[in-house]
């Protein structure tokens, strides 16, 4: 049971063969509220066991925390056995936290039979309940959870909620747009008090990256659409505060370590035997500003970047170094190209609203995705093609809709050549608004025509669902990778159910997606 000392639950993340990051937040005194800067420095004990009863302790230690790090506790436990389940808990003032469960990665030289991940993104607390997290937490067959970003949202109450009227199913704390360190800390703390999120964190290790809303909407390296320089302070200071709070509150190794404050590089790799290696990307911190409304030849400007040079080289190395069969990329925004050309004008606005920044009379593509940085995408796709890379798999969030796509080596000739360099699976949002929410129409009405138009004009897009919220399950074997899409009932219903809706797979070596008729077993 949650208790006063450990009101924010427990979490683990970034599993490696012999180590994993454990996290909690201790509230030693009533005054030690998140973001308050109040309260004493205290020592917290952590324990790791192979049994849930902690009859034997496999590893233990103490961590000192205090107001300087918002009383968060984060430890990189080493010396563990590969591919093994572990239980962990924290102890303060003779009181135990809830027990968490985690699992180490398989050893690099081994061949795991499969890997199975929950896949989630875009969880806006004001827009509804986190039932996706609850349903994933009920499963017993996952190895970890991939979170592709928008884990928190920066808005204040009334600014971005449920549906086209922006109804707040729950209200954000603090009750205004978050700008400063104390704000970001309080917002993280609020999310961490959600019982469904706590359940999933306690059940599985997370592998996180961030997208824009961990800082502000449509962030780029020097600003964000939802940031007014000066009035809201400097973007540099705001982002530093957001990154610091993320580092404190999330079970992630940043710049290679679990210690807060020693760097904010979140792009990194995690290997799972010879079956798969995951490269988690940061497509916000190093990117140039999104293009403005008009069709702009600068879209293909080789000097504009979404990754930054160092991260691009890191990604290319991931794709070509051949340490594992499947090259997974945790990709915060879509890489498959697509055009909105052919879409009726009255539907362009809501699609734009769902898909990101896209002004009314503007460009027929989403400038916030890789489509707005085509020279970077060209470099990635050419790397895949020139090196004969097989089994690269982009797993994506951001766009609040479900997609399965081939990645055309040349979009213009794809219809004739079917020449694909990899595939992309996009998970829908946990709660954040999608097309039907914005148009205010019932599901499977307005959106169907939009989806069919997009698929007709973009033949490499094989599956598209603009209507549903939920989560995905990704299962990887040497023979194929399969993604299952699960959808929720009403986000406003705290106890809403979840239903399997479709599954798509890519056969090893094929670089193309195909529909399959059943999900992997729950």
């Amino acid at each position: 049971m949650p208790n006063a000392y450990f009101a924010h639950g427990v979490a683990s993340g970034d599993p490696r063969p012999t180590s994993v990051v454990l996290w909690t937040r201790v509230t030693p005194t009533a005054a030690s509220k998140p973001g308050s800067g109040q309260g004493p420095n205290v020592s917290v004990t952590w324990q790791v066991s192979t049994t849930s009863a902690f009859t034997t302790i496999a590893a233990t230690g103490k961590v000192t925390t205090g107001p300087a790090r918002d009383h968060t506790v984060k430890v990189d436990v080493t010396g563990l056995k590969p591919a093994a389940p572990y239980y962990y808990r924290f102890v303060y003032a003779a009181t135990h936290s809830a027990v968490g469960r985690t699992r180490t990665a398989p050893a690099a030289t081994t061949s795991p039979a499969n890997l199975r991940f929950g896949v989630v993104s875009c969880a806006n607390l004001q827009a509804g309940w986190f039932s996706s997290y609850r349903h994933l937490a009920k499963r017993n067959d996952l190895h970890a959870v991939l979170h592709l970003g928008d884990y928190i949202y920066e808005y204040g109450p009334g600014e971005y909620g449920y549906g086209n009227a922006d109804v707040d199913i729950r209200k954000h704390e603090p009750a205004h747009e978050i700008l400063k360190l104390a704000d970001y800390r309080q917002r993280h703390a609020q999310y961490k008090r959600d019982v469904d999120l706590q359940a999933l964190h306690a059940k599985y290790a997370f592998i996180h990256t961030w997208d824009d809303h961990e800082v502000a909407d449509d962030a780029w390296k020097g600003g964000a659409v939802n940031h007014t320089e000066g009035v809201e302070g400097s973007f540099t200071a705001r982002r530093a505060a957001a990154h610091q709070a993320f580092d404190e509150w999330m079970p992630v190794r940043m710049s290679g370590s679990a210690a807060p404050g020693d760097g904010d590089q979140i792009y990194r790799r995690l290997q799972f035997g010879d079956l798969a290696e995951i490269t988690m990307l940061d497509l916000r911190t190093y990117r140039d500003k999104q293009l403005a409304a008009q069709v702009d030849p600068a879209e293909a400007d080789p000097d504009r970047t979404i990754t930054g040079r160092a991260q691009m080289d890191f990604l290319k190395d991931s794709l070509t170094r051949r340490v594992a069969q499947w090259k997974l990329v945790g990709n915060p925004v879509m890489i498959a190209p697509f055009t909105f050309a052919g879409l009726p004008q009255n539907l362009v606005d809501p699609v734009n609203d769902t898909a990101g920044l896209l002004p009314r009379d503007g460009v027929p593509y989403n400038v916030d995705q890789w489509d707005g940085y085509t020279d970077d995408r060209r470099e990635v796709f050419e790397t895949l093609r020139d090196n004969g890379v097989t089994d690269s798999l982009f797993i994506t969030g951001d766009i609040h809709s479900g997609w399965a796509c081939d990645l055309p080596a040349d979009k213009a000739t794809y219809l004739a050549s079917r020449n694909s360099v990899g595939v992309e699976f996009v998970a829908t949002s946990v709660t954040s608004n999608n097309l039907k929410d914005i148009t205010g129409t019932p599901r499977r009405t307005t959106s169907v025509a939009v989806e069919e138009t997009l698929k007709a004009n973009n033949p490499h897009i094989k599956y598209l669902n603009f209507d549903d919220h939920g989560y995905s399950v990704l299962d990887i074997t040497a023979k194929r990778a399969q993604m299952d899409w699960y959808i929720l009932g009403d986000r406003a219903d705290k106890n809403t159910s979840s239903t399997w809706t479709t599954s798509w797979a890519t056969t090893a070596g094929s670089q193309t997606v195909r529909q399959v008729d059943a999900p992997v077993g729950a």
Binding site: W326, N387, A409, S417, R418, N419, S510
Partner: protein, 416 residues
Amino acid sequence: MSGVQASRRTVLKVAGASGAAYAFSTAAGISPAGAATKKRAYVLVIDGCRPGEVDAMPNVAALRDAGTWYPAARSLPVMETIPNHVMMMTGCRPARNGVPANQIYDRTEAVLRNSDRPTDIKVATIIEQLNASGRTTGTVLSKEYLYTVFGERATHRWEPFPLLPVTEHSPDVATTSAAIAMVEQFDPDLVFINLGDVDRVGHSDLTGTTLKAARQAALASTNIQVGRMVDKLKSSGKWASSMVIVLADHSMDWSVPENTISLTSAFNQDPTLTGKFQIAQNGGADLVYWTGSSSARSAAVARMRTLALATTGVFQAHVISETPSLRLGANAGDLLVYCKAGWRFSDPGPQSNPIPGNHGHPATEPIPFFVSGGSPAVKKGVARSATAHTMDVTPTLGAYFGVKAPSSGWEGTSRL
């Protein structure tokens, strides 16, 4: 005279099921058809097949799914037909086996030629090793240069016929009929089969795109031929004692005529290089041989590398003596230059290579590779992420038949 050697073999004309006659040359003193309990192995090369194309061939996909599949398998440099078939049969790479590419510059004879002479292979093949162990072997190779490079090593050799003009290969229907006739007549312990249609149609597909109608038709046809072969093994009771290794020697990439690269013209712009190099053209890879003075070699190779890398369409350029991981050996010359996907080399001039489908460059490394068949030695229905290579065929056959590596050694790994 070669007739002396030929006289040690007998030529037998065998009537196949269709009534057509197949000519086999057989080493002297071999008695046909072994016992029913023996182990059999068939190596089936679908020349130039891309891994993603297997699903278009249900009979081939069935073999893949029933056996042990290596989805991350790759061809080895240079990703051409002769060197990769030689790697399959020698278990080692060109630095050791002597065959780095289809075309080489022969410094001794001062000519560009195909590396297709029996004497080009410098180590013992698994064919000779099996013969030496008292077993019999057969080669059913659809391409003229494969027929010649493996020469009279096998106990039984099919002479490919008819050879189609231009492609110089025998169509899969004839090749498969010959393989079936060889199995019926001689039942060799190992049969090494090359099916050339998928590759040859790839080369002659002038549309510059993949999976167009001709390629699809070739895949469908090859699928039928593989099915015939499997059916024959099953109906004749041989399946349960058979291992069938299915793979490709390399993949395939397509380019449009505008995307051709001529290193000859690039190098000739430098007067210190003019007339002092030879280029062996291997589709997506050029092998460059310095023919000037040895004292100038190092500087000249560095200069050629710089010029190659500055040429549009070039992907990589490796100084062979400084890149031991290539394992290409001295026969490969001084410089290996790869093109990017969607390009091809055409030397000496832009019209020299009119073929749109090419291989030899890294884009053409991925290959299908699976070990199937009814033999209990074959693990059924599994896939492994390890990177298998063409050179793994011989160690796999060695493990299957219980034959150890020759003194020259194997570099590959058994994939049983």
